[in-house]
């Protein structure tokens, strides 16, 4: 296998891109055509809630636009891949606004419970729903501790080409795999940089040289419901 040399290449590329264009791209390079996602990488997000303000919903709007999620005016059944949760500490009154989405667990319960294998984890750690074989049983929604998934409650039209979605199947945050695979940042991260305060940091958790890995090494972050032992790829600071 070419895993080792490829990894070296990736590391070099990452360092290079950081030097050449800091902030513009955090991904070493787009995966060449015909190559599958590799377990050498694990995509993750670090969210600093201290930088996230309650009135900013740039990430949420960007997600809805990017993924083509319509608003039917029915909040109980409309799909939400990403939402902002206001988290208040009753002990001291400190309030934080926390973006919550699929946590892309290393041991995802949604994948365990899915009867057909539609709920799946890609080699690079991205948890997806294969809607080609999803039968719409919603067991994954019962099993997810983060309430990260939605059910398409109505027939769809005008979907975005990169996010096919249809009535009767389950969906959720894809970590924008279509962007990651093309060497771009997830839509929420991009919007947070452009319009927000840059509270979201995206990168490869397995690459010790990546910005996210170095940030995590420098200062610890928490996982949501770490007690469940699911090892999510999303990390939070300031909760």
């Amino acid at each position: 296998m070419t895993g080792l040399s490829r990894r070296g290449l990736l590391l070099g590329g990452a360092a290079l891109s950081l030097v050449l264009a800091p902030g513009l791209t955090l991904i070493a390079q787009a995966r060449p055509a015909g190559r599958p996602a590799s377990a050498a990488q694990r995509w993750g997000l670090l969210i600093d809630t201290a930088k996230c303000t309650a009135d900013c919903t740039a990430c949420v709007s960007a997600c809805k636009t990017e993924m083509g999620l319509p608003d039917h005016g029915r909040p109980a059944t409309d799909a939400q891949y990403l939402r902002k949760v206001s988290v208040g500490n009753p002990a001291n009154g400190v309030e934080r606004s926390v973006p919550v989405m699929c946590q892309h667990c290393a041991k995802p319960p949604c994948v365990d419970v899915c009867p057909t294998g539609a709920s799946m984890k890609r080699a690079d750690g991205v948890v997806l729903v294969d809607r080609h074989i999803c039968i719409g049983c919603r067991y994954c929604m019962m099993a997810c501790p983060y309430k990260a998934r939605s059910f398409a409650h109505e027939a769809q039209s005008g979907q975005r080409p990169h996010n096919p979605r249809g009535k009767g199947t389950v969906e959720g945050c894809t970590l924008c795999v279509h962007r990651i695979d093309a060497d771009r940042l997830p839509a929420c991260v991009e919007a947070c940089r452009a319009q927000g305060k840059g509270a979201m940091l995206f990168g490869d958790l397995h690459d010790p040289q990546s910005e996210i890995a170095r940030a995590l090494a420098a200062q610890p972050a928490t996982r949501l419901r770490a007690d469940l032992g699911l090892d999510p790829a999303l990390r939070y600071r300031g909760i």
Binding site: A33, L128, Q156, P164, R165, A182
Partner: protein, 113 residues
């Protein structure tokens, strides 16, 4: 008796086939297809299915049997020059699938233009 009925049925269905207009396949934009016409006619479904698993489950990108590319190349324009959707009889996929009465599931989720 049964034989007569059967013969009648076969005769009627053949007659029906003859009556229904042969599908006229719309021209594509590109120069040539990713595979020869014969392979595409018999195996487009297998190719798409293989591609879908490869792309979604393994994360392989940029291979040649992508539904998106088929739709781009085989877009059928309406009077305004906009590509028609699957709800339209003239849609590339509908031309044959309507004729053969084979339901397409792709566009329950995928956008059709």
């Amino acid at each position: 008796m049964v034989r007569i009925l059967l013969a009648l049925l076969i005769g009627m269905s053949l007659g029906g086939l003859a009556l229904a207009a042969e599908p006229v396949i719309p021209k594509a934009k590109g120069e040539r297809c990713v595979e020869d016409s014969r392979t595409m006619r018999t195996s487009h479904m297998e190719l798409l299915k293989h591609q879908r698993d490869l792309t979604l489950r393994a994360g392989v990108r940029g291979t040649k049997h992508a539904l998106k590319d088929c739709l781009t190349c085989h877009a059928v324009p309406d009077a305004q020059g906009q590509p028609v959707g699957i709800e339209d009889q003239r849609h590339f996929c509908n031309v044959c699938h309507g004729y053969a009465a084979v339901r397409i599931d792709c566009f329950e989720c995928h956008v059709s233009k």
